[in-house]
Symmetry: C2
Subunit: 368 residues, 2 copies
């Protein structure tokens, strides 16, 4: 449990004061968990299991309803749990009056348009000024603490162990969908909170789609099989892609797999604090482009991973942001050839001052 980590909360309250706001309303579920330790997930953005009101000083308040009260009190030990009466807007209004909040910052990147309009009408009536903010907590979340890195490491290792378990049963004649389901069933059996995203198993021509949805097509010998899987453990995500071949791959397949490995190695060599995100992307892209497959690598090199499976920073050809120590990012070049298939390799690393720490141990892709 994270339970109202002091440091991030202190930093956020500092920012709230710097913005001359009296409080910040946190609606984004991972931000809420990060600051409060409250682990409930939201069924959808329209069905929140709690709002966190962070005042400029003092303890945050967690607004939730009777369905979640027990959990909120047990987990968000540094927060005051406030039960929503008729509507969260009404309860929030009363709280703002009680706390004499005159300026309320809100997460404009994680509030529905209709909801924001309702909040604005209510605030106007109460004479409260609203301050839209975006990414304030996400900015803190990009640099992981040693405790967070430990949790991500455990998530990565469990994910790899499940990959190996399922790989042992992989054989021709099983469908992509069957294998994807086995992976997710194994995740649940082995103690993951949930899959971090819909598992991708894409074989043969289907592997030419980077985000292929598993189909009922049977896996065949000799074709590339992309397996992209990740899980959530104690809140933290893992994300790994391997490309495997049953039987002996032909020369062309070996060539493409080696090329993607070389691109990954080239990108990894660049990674350290201070480099631009786009430079890591470029290193991988150059290897692939020089071999004539530049147009077959249509996505970015990677993304941050933490409480969310996709979070800042993005590593792609446009990003000029600098990598910082403690960032956890994926490095995942790929080559996709319509009609033939595809190859992607994805590892996760921690950015360090003078390089990186590899979180993956699995070396399936080095077997060739």
């Amino acid at each position: 449990m994270i339970a109202c980590l002091l440091k991030p909360l202190d930093k956020i309250q500092h920012t709230i004061r710097r913005k001359r706001a009296d409080a910040l309303l946190v609606t984004q579920p991972e931000n809420r968990r990060y600051l409060s330790g409250y682990t409930a997930t939201d069924l959808s953005i329209a069905e929140s299991s709690g709002l966190l009101l962070v005042p400029r000083l003092g303890s945050p308040l967690l607004l939730t309803d009777s369905r979640y009260q027990l959990q909120a009190e047990q987990e968000a030990t540094g927060c005051e749990v406030v039960l929503v009466q008729d509507s969260w807007l009404g309860t929030l209004g009363k709280l703002m009056a009680r706390l004499s909040i005159g300026k309320l910052a809100f997460e404009s990147h994680y509030m529905l348009y209709d909801t924001a309009l309702k909040l604005m009408r209510m605030s106007q009536k109460q004479g409260v000024e609203l301050i839209p903010t975006s990414g304030m907590i996400e900015k803190l979340r990009v640099r992981k603490s040693p405790q967070e890195i430990q949790k991500i490491q455990e998530s990565v290792l469990l994910n790899e162990s499940i990959f190996k378990e399922v790989l042992a049963h992989l054989k021709p004649g099983r469908s992509e969908r069957e294998v994807a389901r086995e992976i997710e069933a194994t995740m649940m059996r082995r103690g993951a909170e949930a899959p971090a995203f819909s598992t991708i198993v894409a074989a043969g021509p289907n592997a030419a789609s980077p985000h292929a949805v598993p189909t009922d097509r049977f896996i065949k010998r000799g074709e590339t099989i992309i397996i992209d899987m990740g899980l959530r453990l104690d809140g933290y995500c893992s994300d790994m892609t391997r490309t495997v071949v049953l039987g002996t791959p032909d020369k062309h397949t070996v060539k493409i797999i080696r090329l993607v490995r070389q691109a990954q190695s080239a990108a990894l060599k660049t990674i350290k604090a201070g480099i631009l995100a786009r430079d890591a992307d470029r290193a991988a892209r150059e290897v692939i482009s020089r071999a004539g497959y530049g147009r077959n690598f249509g996505h970015g090199l990677g993304h941050g991973v933490g409480l969310a499976v996709h979070e800042p920073p993005s590593l792609n050809r446009k990003r000029r942001n600098k990598l910082q120590p403690g960032m956890v990012v994926t490095v995942e070049p790929g080559i996709y050839i319509p009609g033939w298939g595809g190859v992607r390799l994805e590892n996760m690393v921690v950015v360090e001052e003078r390089g990186y720490t590899m979180l993956n141990r699995d070396t399936t892709f080095l077997d060739l």
Copy 2:
């Protein structure tokens, strides 16, 4: 596959014309699936796998990127698939110019505030007027077609079969979390797309929380165990709650279970097209209140189920909306007693002109 069902699309295009709009931008993922047949899910509201632009006449356009292109073309057979270039906003702008769209309706209940502002700036530049709309497609989705009811029925039956399979292994000394994971693993193994929501297994005092998160606490003989589970099959959700007891329940437990059953029966007796949602709620609530447990039934009677596990209509004490034939709703009264535990029973029914059709076959709660 639904593949651009003609009738809902016709109805929506009629509404678009009635609102004097030239097109509707569909961002809500279940609405997108309902109208287009495209089954991709969104990782989050900030990471859409596609936007559906429905013109007042003619075929819808599905905007997506290269990662989803193949899937979009295979599934959304009645739509023109348009690849997003640099940004979806830029691509949308070009499309609006190409289609001479002067008035664009958008789903203001499913667009982030920041995104809506960006859309507004872009539209203003192009001289396009924006029309916020809310729930236009959801209104259609409340009445299910026979094909949809068939799919929901299959989802319910698979869910029940998994419940029975897991129930056979339920025994004292297993933890709530272990049982919840086994349920979700079995769902994946038996062919569900995914759990429809995080499975609830709550025993003893934990069952006093209606939305309890499974803990590591061991299940004991004699206490009530609430199991609330649902899955998604071919897009459609199921949602069922059973309360079971290992060994012989004591008199008080039997009394509470019988009371909840009576409340459920009382609610079911009222259900038919034309009654007010709140009247069904009241029928259940009266049974529970008369026995002195009114304060222990803190949530509403039920909700609609379809492509989303929670969708309109809501059945609670405030709702004056009339039930309509073809609505699929849950009927789930419960009694929660702090320190002791809880009991909830949840079935799904189809509202008919002169009553209802029960979708559940499982009668575990009649064993007493």
